[in-house]
C-alpha cells in the first residue's frame, strides 16, 4: 500500500517506532559529513543539507528546499551498527559472556537501496553459512528498516549498473520518497512488510496516497536513475577479471594506491575482521576481541614466514577481484552494490569502475 505523510506525519512515524521499543538510527551531520547516529525525532535529521561527491572529494552543502534526505550516501552505512568496528566475542569473566546486544532492536531510518542490497550481502556472509555469527545475528534480528528512495544521484553513484537501485525493491519495512515541490513537503510511503503496515496504522498523519503523489514519486526515482554519475562496464566481470589476473593495469593502479584501506572501511559490504586474544596483567581474565581488518594491510595475509600479498599490486588485485568476481564463488552474490563510497573516500581518487573499464578496453 502507498500512503502520503507530511513532516508532522514523519514525526509521528518516528515516535511510533520509539514507542514500539526501537532504537532509532538515522542520518545526522557529524564531522563534516552525513553519518549514521542515534536520533530521537525528525528534528535530528539533516534538514536542508546535501553532499557533493566525486573521486576523492566530499563536501557538505546547503540546499534551499529543506529536504531531510536530500543527500546521497555518507562515509558510513548501517554496517556501523550491524557489524561494529570492534567488539568482544568472548570474555572469561563473567564466564562465557560476549557483546551480544541485549539492548533494544534497531530501527534504521533513511537507508538507501544500495545499502539494503549491502545488508542482504552481509546477511549472506554472516548468517548464510554453516557457522552463523551470533553477534551479527543478535544485532540484525528484528531490525526495522525505513528506506528512502534517492531523489538525486551523486557523481560517484553507479547502483543502476549493479542492479542495486535507486529504487528500494526489497528488504525494507517502509520505503519513503521525499517530495518537496508542488503540493508541499511530504513523503510517499510504501509498505514492504506487515510490520510496516502496522506502524503506518499508528501514524495518524498517514493518508492513502493520491495517484498524483504516486506518479510524482515514480518520476523522481526515474530522474535519479537517469542521473547516475558512473556505470560499471556491462561485461561478465568474473570472466574479465579471472582472465586478467596478470594485466599490466594492476601495476598502473598500484602506482597510485596508497594501500590506506579507506575503501574497505567505507564499503558497506567489506566484512574482513581480525581476532585478538588479550589477558589482564595478572593473566586471570581473558578476552577475545575482533575488529575490522582490511586486505590492504600486510597482516591480512600474514603466515609464518611473511605476508603472502606484499605488493600494492597484489593487494589492490585481491580487493577488486574479491568485490567483483570471487565473492560470487564464495557467497553467491556480487560484493559490490555500486554505492560509490570507495571512489569518494579514496585519497587518490581511484575509481573501481574506471579500473574495470581500463582492463575491459584492453581485452
Amino acid at each position: 500500500m502507498r500512503y502520503v505523510l507530511d513532516l508532522g506525519g514523519l514525526g509521528q512515524l518516528l515516535a511510533a517506532l520509539r514507542q514500539r521499543g526501537f532504537r532509532l538510527i538515522g542520518p545526522v551531520v557529524a564531522d563534516g559529513a552525513i553519518c549514521y547516529g542515534e536520533i530521537t525525532s525528525a528534528a535530528d535529521l539533516p534538514a536542508g543539507w546535501t553532499d557533493e561527491q566525486d573521486g576523492g572529494t566530499y563536501r557538505l552543502k546547503r540546499r534551499d528546499d529543506g529536504a531531510l534526505f536530500g543527500y546521497n550516501v555518507g562515509p558510513q552505512s548501517p554496517k556501523k551498527y550491524l557489524f561494529p568496528a570492534s567488539a568482544t566475542l568472548w570474555r572469561s569473566h563473567p564466564p562465557g559472556t560476549a557483546d551480544t546486544d541485549d539492548e533494544k532492536p534497531f530501527a534504521f531510518i533513511g537507508v538507501r537501496s544500495c545499502e539494503l542490497h549491502a545488508i542482504a550481502v552481509q546477511d549472506r556472509v554472516f548468517l548464510g553459512g554453516q557457522h552463523p555469527d551470533p553477534l551479527y545475528a543478535a544485532r540484525r534480528d528484528g531490525a526495522f528498516i525505513v528506506a528512502v528512495n534517492c531523489g538525486q544521484a551523486a557523481r560517484t553513484c553507479f547502483c543502476v549498473s549493479m542492479s542495486a537501485g535507486p529504487k528500494a525493491d526489497a528488504g525494507f519495512d517502509l520505503a519513503l520518497t521525499e517530495l518537496t515541490g508542488e503540493g508541499g513537503h511530504r513523503f510517499l510511503a510504501e509498505t514492504g512488510t506487515p510490520r510496516g503496515e502496522e506502524v503506518i496504522a499508528d501514524t495518524p498523519g498517514a493518508q492513502p496516497a493520491s495517484p498524483r503523489d504516486a506518479t510524482a514519486a515514480d518520476q523522481i526515482i526515474e530522474r535519479t536513475a537517469a542521473q547516475m554519475g558512473r556505470a560499471m562496464p556491462a561485461v561478465d566481470l568474473r570472466d574479465l577479471l579471472y582472465g586478467n589476473l596478470e594485466h599490466p593495469r594492476w601495476d598502473d593502479v598500484a602506482a597510485r594506491c596508497l594501500t590506506c584501506g579507506n575503501c574497505t572501511m567505507a564499503c558497506p559490504t567489506c566484512f574482513c575482521f581480525s581476532v585478538e586474544d588479550v589477558t589482564d596483567l595478572a593473566g586471570r581474565a581473558a578476552e577475545r576481541n575482533r575488529s575490522w581488518d582490511s586486505c590492504f594491510t600486510l597482516d591480512h595475509s600474514y603466515i609464518h614466514g611473511g605476508p603472502v600479498r606484499t605488493s600494492a599490486r597484489s593487494r589492490y588485485r585481491q580487493w577488486m577481484t574479491h568485490k567483483l568476481a570471487t565473492w560470487t564463488g564464495q557467497f553467491g552474490t556480487s560484493g559490490c552494490v555500486g554505492c560509490g563510497r570507495c571512489i569518494t573516500w579514496c585519497p587518490a581518487g581511484i575509481d573501481i569502475t574506471e579500473e574495470v573499464a581500463a582492463i575491459a578496453a584492453d581485452t
Binding site: L89, W90, G96, A98, V125, F126, G129, Q130, H131, D133, P134, Y242, L245, E246, F271, C272, F273, S274, V275, E276, D277, V278, T279, G283, A286, R288, R290, D293, C295, H300, S301, Y302, I303, H304, V308, R309, T310, S311, R313, S314, Q318, T321, H322, A325, T326, T328, G329, Q330
Partner: protein, 270 residues
C-alpha cells in the same frame, strides 16, 4: 561459537624434533574427524591457531596435533605442560578424498610439517589396505634431525605393502638416505599414473614442483590433491583471511584438487 566449548585436557606431549611437539588431547566426548581436517587450538590469552589433526581417525578419545614452534601461539602450545586444559574448536575443513583413490595407486607426498596432516590418511589407507593398489609415501625434511615420526617411518619401511622414500635437503655424517628435494622422488618410484591419486602437503613451492612432476607422468589434474595454507582467524568462513581466489580455505579447503587450484596457484602473491 567462539570459545564457549568445553576445554580438552592435554594428556601427553611428545617431542618429535627440536622445534616440533605432538600434543595428545582428550576431548570431553568421543571426537570424530576425517583425515585432513583441522582444529582451532587456543593458548589461553595468547591466541588461537589452526592445527591439523595428526592421529588415527579410529582413535576418538585421544586426538593428536603435531605442532611446529614458529611464533607466539605455537610456542605456548608446544610448551604446555600435561594436565593443562586447552580450548579446542573443530573439526573444520575438507578432507583427503580417500574414496576417490580406491582401486588405484595412492601417492602421499609430504614436506616438513606437511607430514602430520597426512598421517591420518596413511593410517586410514593402511587400515583398508586392500582397497588400494600401490601405496607410496614420499617425505622430505631439511635435515635428518628435522624428520618427524622417525620410529613409525622405520616400521612403515619394514612393510612390504608400503613404499617409503625419505629425502633431506642437507644430510649429515650418519645420513645414508636420499639427499635432494621432494619433487625429485616422483621420478624414482613405480606407480600407474592413469589410476593414481596423489595427496600432498608442504611449502607451496614444493607442491608446485611436485604437481608438475606428477602431471608430467600422466596423473590427471583432478586426482592430485593439495592442502593449502593461508592466515586463518575464525575457521567459520567469516573473517576473510583464508581467501585463495574464490575459495575460503577453512570452508572449501584446506584440501582442494589441483583442477580447482590450477588458475590460482600458478600466480604469485594470490
Amino acid at each position: 561459537m567462539w570459545a564457549d566449548t568445553e576445554p580438552w585436557r592435554l594428556a601427553a606431549a611428545r617431542r618429535e624434533s627440536a622445534d616440533t611437539v605432538t600434543l595428545g588431547l582428550e576431548p570431553p566426548a568421543p571426537f570424530v574427524f576425517d583425515p585432513g581436517q583441522f582444529n582451532m587450538l587456543y593458548a589461553a590469552g595468547i591466541g588461537e591457531v589452526p592445527i591439523s589433526i595428526s592421529g588415527d581417525p579410529g582413535q576418538r578419545t585421544r586426538i593428536l596435533h603435531t605442532i611446529r614452534d614458529v611464533g607466539a601461539v605455537t610456542h605456548a602450545l608446544c610448551a604446555t605442560p600435561p594436565g593443562t586444559e586447552i580450548g579446542v574448536r573443530g573439526p573444520y575443513g575438507s578432507h583427503w578424498p580417500l574414496h576417490t583413490a580406491e582401486g588405484g595407486d595412492l601417492i602421499i607426498v609430504a614436506g616438513g610439517i606437511g607430514l602430520p596432516p597426512l598421517r591420518p590418511a596413511i593410517y586410514q589407507a593402511l587400515r583398508h589396505r586392500d582397497r588400494y593398489q600401490r601405496l607410496v609415501l614420499l617425505y622430505g625434511a631439511r635435515t635428518p634431525r628435522d624428520l618427524l615420526f622417525t620410529g613409525e617411518l622405520a616400521r612403515w619401511r619394514g612393510r612390504f605393502d608400503l613404499t617409503v622414500e625419505v629425502t633431506v635437503d642437507v644430510g649429515d655424517r650418519d645420513w645414508r638416505g636420499n639427499v635432494g628435494v621432494v619433487p625429485d622422488l616422483i621420478g624414482r618410484v613405480t606407480f600407474e599414473p592413469g589410476t593414481a591419486t596423489a595427496f600432498m602437503v608442504g611449502p607451496e613451492i614444493m607442491m608446485r614442483f611436485t604437481v608438475r612432476a606428477l602431471l608430467e607422468r600422466g596423473v590427471p589434474e583432478d586426482r592430485v590433491f593439495l592442502s593449502m595454507e593461508r592466515n586463518m582467524q575464525c575457521a567459520a568462513a567469516l573473517c576473510g583471511h583464508c581467501q585463495l581466489g574464490p575459495f575460503l580455505l577453512c570452508r572449501d579447503g584446506p584440501v582442494l584438487s589441483y583442477r580447482q587450484l590450477a588458475r590460482w596457484i600458478s600466480l604469485r602473491e594470490i
